[in-house]
Structures are given as structure tokens and as C-alpha cells.
């Protein structure tokens, strides 16, 4: 080994050594916070999920048995899978479509439209729900008032037919649409224009450019949006809680809402609630892993 190479290595090693403390210093607060607010509670939750609420003694899978033999909780899983399917498909398609429109139109107009469609993202789910309640309320909401003025019967949006699902999904969609559109738009702007120019010279039509250039380049963006959407929708709680309360007939009950109600029930053994929360966590992690597996994220070429 030459003297020069050894010298370089020594220099590199000493630099690593010098950098190490500052690196640790920067990482430590994050590790402490994660420990306090994520890992320690997770370990505590695991202990609690396997112990009896009254005695604190180990009780095996009793708490899981309780929650899995709770029909409302099981139904809530079916609901949230349906909601996730609808929201993911609708958001992915419409956000991508809208982002493509933004990409195609004049930059100045696009900037204004971007801000307009991003504004709902700044509103919390609770506030959005209140806005929708004002619109949909059966007793005196905006639509009811208009219908009564038109001598029509008011619509019980929160209880009739499939309206409750619509009432829950519409605000959810509205809140996420701007963010997802912006992410998609940023992804589209990242596609090198030179590819399109070359494709134009070769005589490729719009669809060919879409299939062979845009979509492959957008793959990582799709993964990001997909994972965010799946995780967010599976954890959905505030909007159904505010608008429908999980009803009617538990049609809009989600696992998180069920667990929230269970936590608020001071008579219920809370270790059961914790066991349920762990099950939801397992579901979310599994679905995300599957999503990552199916759409393998690739490091973009330099």
C-alpha cells in the first residue's frame, strides 16, 4: 500500500473522528424524543396489551381476544379498507390529472391555482368537518335551507343511504387534494424536458410520452403519495367523529374512531383499547410494506 493512500485514509479517519461528536449531538435529541414519545410508549403498550387491566398480571392474548370478538371493531376494519380504496384511487387519479393540467397551463396561472388548491391543507380535519356540518346539517344546514326554500324535503346526509360515506369521504378528499396535487406537480416539473423533446422528434404521441417517460419518472412520487394516502386514510378519525359519529349502522366507523370512543369509555378496560391500537398499527405497517414491495422505489439517476 502506498504512502499516499495510507495518508489519505488516515486523514479520512481523523475527519470522521472529528465529525462524529457533532453528528451524535445532532442525532441525540431526535433519539431522546423518539424514545420518550414513540419507543418507550410502544414497549409500555406491549406490556399493557398482554396484562389484565384490573390486576396488572400477565393475561396472554385475552385483550386481543376481547377486541377481535367485538363486532363493531371488526366492521370498522372493513369500512376503512373501503374508504382507503376509494380515497387512494380518487386522489391518485385526480391529483395526477390536475397536476398535469397545472403543468400544461401558463406558469403564472398555475401559481395562483396551486395556492388556491393548497389552502384546504392548512385547515384541520375538525375545522373542515365543522364547515361541512354547516353545509350538510339536517336541522338547518345550508343545503337543507335551500331545499326548504325550493319546497323540497331536506336530505338527511348523515343517515340516509350511502350519503354518510360521501359526507365523510368528501372532506377527506378535499383536505388532501391540494397537497397531493402539489407533490405530483413537483414530480412532473422534475421530469427532464429533453426527453419530451426527443420523443417529439421521434413522433411519439401524448400517451406514449405519458407511458414511457412521465409515469416511470413519477414512480417515486407515486410511492410517496400512495404511502401517505394509505397511512392517512387508515388512521382516519376526526372527520367521521365530527360528521357522522361513526354511524349510521356503523357505516362510517373506523378503527381509530372505535378506539377513540373505547378510550373515552371510562368503564372499559383500557388494555383492550391498547391491544386494538396495536392491531391497527400492525395493519398500517403491513399495508405500507406491501405497497413498498409492489412499487419498488428506485433511486433516481443522477
Amino acid at each position: 500500500m502506498s504512502e499516499q493512500t495510507l495518508g489519505k485514509r488516515r486523514k479520512k479517519k481523523s475527519l470522521e473522528y472529528i465529525d462524529a461528536p457533532s453528528g451524535y449531538a445532532m442525532v441525540t435529541p431526535a433519539i431522546i424524543l423518539l424514545g420518550i414519545f414513540a419507543y418507550i410508549p410502544l414497549i409500555m403498550a406491549l406490556f399493557r396489551a398482554f396484562s389484565d387491566y384490573s390486576t396488572g398480571q400477565f393475561c396472554g392474548f385475552d385483550n386481543f381476544d376481547y377486541i377481535l370478538k367485538t363486532p363493531s371493531f371488526i366492521k370498522s376494519f372493513g369500512n376503512v379498507v373501503l374508504f382507503t380504496g376509494i380515497i387512494v384511487v380518487a386522489q391518485m387519479l385526480l391529483s395526477f390529472f390536475f397536476a398535469s393540467v397545472l403543468y400544461a397551463i401558463d406558469m403564472k396561472v398555475a401559481n395562483v391555482v396551486k395556492v388556491i388548491c393548497y389552502v384546504p391543507c392548512l385547515i384541520s380535519g375538525v375545522v373542515a368537518s365543522i364547515i361541512y356540518i354547516f353545509i350538510l346539517n339536517y336541522g338547518g344546514g345550508l343545503i337543507t335551507s335551500i331545499l326548504i326554500q325550493l319546497d323540497k324535503d331536506p336530505i338527511a346526509f348523515t343517515t340516509q343511504g350511502y350519503w354518510p360515506i360521501f359526507c365523510v369521504l368528501l372532506p377527506t378528499f378535499w383536505l388532501g387534494f391540494g397537497y397531493n396535487t402539489l407533490i405530483m406537480y413537483a414530480g412532473l416539473l422534475n421530469v427532464p424536458r429533453v426527453y419530451y423533446e426527443v420523443a417529439d422528434i421521434d413522433g411519439a404521441n401524448y400517451w406514449k410520452k405519458m407511458v414511457y417517460i412521465t409515469l416511470p419518472y413519477m414512480k417515486n412520487v407515486f410511492v410517496l403519495v400512495l404511502v401517505n394516502l394509505i397511512t392517512g386514510t387508515l388512521q382516519m378519525m376526526d372527520i367521521p367523529y365530527m360528521i357522522t359519529g361513526g354511524g349510521p349502522l356503523e357505516m362510517t366507523l373506523t378503527p381509530s374512531l372505535y378506539l377513540f370512543n373505547s378510550f373515552r369509555d371510562s368503564g372499559r378496560p383500557q388494555n383492550v383499547t391498547i391491544a386494538g391500537a396495536l392491531l391497527v398499527m400492525i395493519l398500517i405497517v403491513t399495508v405500507n410494506l406491501v405497497a413498498f414491495k409492489f412499487i419498488k422505489s428506485e433511486k433516481m439517476e443522477e
Binding site: C59, P71, G139, Q160, G247, P248, L249, F263, G267
Partner: protein, 464 residues
Amino acid sequence: MKMLKKISIIITLVLAIFIVASCEKNGNEDDNKNYVEEGATRITVYAREFEQWARKHLEGLVNEFNKDLTDGIQVQVKFYTQDTYADALTVARENGKAPDLYMATYGELYSNIRNNNAAAVDSYLSAEAKADIFDTALDLVTYDDKVYAYPWNLEPGSLFFYRKDVFSSLGITKVPKTWDELLAVCAKIKPTLTRGQYCLGLPLGGIECAWATYGMQQNTTGGLALDETWKNHRLDEPGYKQLAKFFYDVYVNDYAPTAALTAEGYTYIVDALCDEKLAMTFAGSWCIAEIYDYTNNNEEIIKNIGVAPIPTIDGDHSKITSSNGGWCYCISEQSKNKDKAARFLNWMLAENTERTASYFVAAYNSKAPTTKSVKTYLDSKDSKVPNEWINVVNDVASKGIPEAIYPFDISLEVGKILERMQLQCKTEPFDILYGKALNDAKNNIETIMQRTTYPSNPKYKENK
């Protein structure tokens, strides 16, 4: 750059102040700073806020109790709204800071006992005080021969409120006693209504139908969803089908709204009656106070409202027509000062009849007392509330059954049957719809019964 630094320091300070302030004032507490007893033991009470008059009344009592600076007890009450009360209680217990005293419904009491959150109070309750409690009320707080709470009030969950002016304008002279009569009155009222007005208000949705129909279930079927062993359901009793048919008939004829008319749903459904959106409604006895509060003591509206026991299948009002909701005070099993907590409870609820009765006066007699002495006292006093209303509350409460104490999921299954009658009545004929709803409910109840931790009926063991 310096300016940026200054701004960030100011923001950090403001945030820190907000965080500290919010931590300190958690729970909307009343510090009762006027009466500070040095070295006294602090007894914390977690209370539901209820109405403003209820809050003021409890604050007044606590202040009066704290005036005595020699008893070594300082009571601090923390009020929580309906939405935050259970959360606060759970969080406090999870953090090892359970309050010394808390309010619980009779329905919740047993779960609190099972979860080691309620201490037996026998040793704190004098024989005289115990004898003064009505048997109906004492039974609600007694498990395995031990008394676990101080019964505070009884609230029948189902009474019948109606608009006298609507009845008189249509020549209806008799308050409906049976379901058939009720449906006939609805048929008479319906053509006179404008859009947004309805004949009848009922508990709506699975959860409300679960807890607000215990009395109706008892009246129609002779029991609740489970038999006394808690090992078998009773959903095949013909009464359940009749109850479901009643709900079906009401909703298929559009006599009742299919969405809540008030923000609080069934709890304050009587607001819609005051607003003339409903001509009649089932509602809990607490709605008597709500009528006074909501109308701001408007005598013109109040005189047009009548109160009666709910119409039943056979119209026999000597039978049970309602469950008894209501609240009791529990001492936390975790409390280190149970004796001192009990001393405050005895002072508030057992030592002075006038003091205890003052709550019922403040509550517009919308609740029935739990002790004989208070009942006698209230009977001897004039009230601004019509005697007819007070008599109905007391009469219904005296016969009322306790709310179910088996897992609420089971009650919910009955609620879901009724909810399907309400919301799907126009999709299928009754027999088919009921058959499907019943089947689902039975399957779900059987699933719940298969839990390894499924409880047995503590009252059944007691009876054996």
C-alpha cells in the same frame, strides 16, 4: 439577523407561557382560593359539568364546605364537559392520579368496580343514612352485598313530552297511552305540519336506541337482551319483534326525523319540541330542566308542554316504562384519603336534608331524589314546576329498572336492530328486514359471549 433572533426568543417565551398555563389550568378547575386551610388534605372531585345551574350548585356546596377551616379537608372540584369527562378520568387513572371522588352513572358503576376504580363505601355510610336510601336506588349501587357509591339522583330515561297546543288545535283530548293511539295521533298531526316539522321524536341510531330503550324493552319483553345468567340472549322474545315493528311503523310513515334535529341528539331532543319542530317526543326526565333553560323560563312555551309516561304496547302505566339513569358519587379505590372523601360526601348527601334537597330544587325537580327524607322535604315545598310533571318523574322513577350492566356491545346490538328499522324501513318489508337484523344481532351477541373475559352477572350470583 438580530431582529430574527429577538423574534424567535419572544415566540419561544410566548409558547412556553402557553404550555405552562395550559398545563396548570387543565380541567377548568375551581381552586376555591377564598378558603385555604393550612395543612389540610386536598380532596379532588371530578365532576361532569352538566348545566350551568348544576355547576353553580356544586361550586356553592364546595365553597360552603371549605369555609370550615378546622376539619382538615379542602375540597377541590374539577369540572369536565360531556365530551371530556371520560377522557379526563381515564387519563388521570392511567397517570396514577385518580381523583378521590368522581361522578358515575349507575350503568358505569359496575365496570368501575370490576376495574378496581370504585371503593366500597359501607363503612362510611351510617346505618341511618343507608336506611334513608330508597331500595330502588340502593339496589343500583349494591354489588355482592356491598354499597359502592352514594346514589345522588335518579333520571328516568324515557318520558313522553307533548305540545298541548298542537293537541288542542286538532281536538286531541287524550294523551296517547298505547302505541296504536300514538300512531293514530301521529296520523292526525302529520297533514298539519310544514317542512322541517315532525310528529314524534325518538332515540335515533344504534347507541341512543341501545341505552334509551331499556325501559321499553323491559315493558315489552319482560326483560332486557340477556337473561339473568348472561349466558343466553332473549332476542327471540316476541316483544322484541313488536318493539321493532313500532319503530318500523313510525319511520315508514315519516312520523319521525331520520337525522338528529338538535346537536345533542336524544339528550336534548326536547329543544326541538320547544322550537315547534316536534309535536311529541320521548325524552329523559332531565329535559324538564332543559325546557326551563332552553326557553329561558318562557311561561308561554312551558304552559303548552305536557309530560306523561311513554305510550306502551298495552298502555298499562302501572308497569315499568323506563330505566333509571342518573348519577352517583364514587370514591376511587386508588384514593389515599377515602375517609376524608367520604366525610365530604356525607356532608353533602346524607347529613342535612335541606342541603341535599337544594340540588333537586335547582334542577327544576327534573330528577327524582334517592332518599326518603329528601322526597318528603320536596313534597312539602312548592315548586315552580307543574306538579303533574314532578309526579310523573317520581312515579316513573319509583318503578324504573336499572340500566343494563352487561357489556354495552350487547345493548348496542339491540340498538342496531332498531336503527335498521329507522333507516332501512323503506328498503324492505318489515318481516324480511327484521329477520336480517335479528340474525345479525344474534350472531354478534354470540361472538361477544365467546370472549375469554366475558363476565358473569354479579346480581345473579347474589340472588342464588
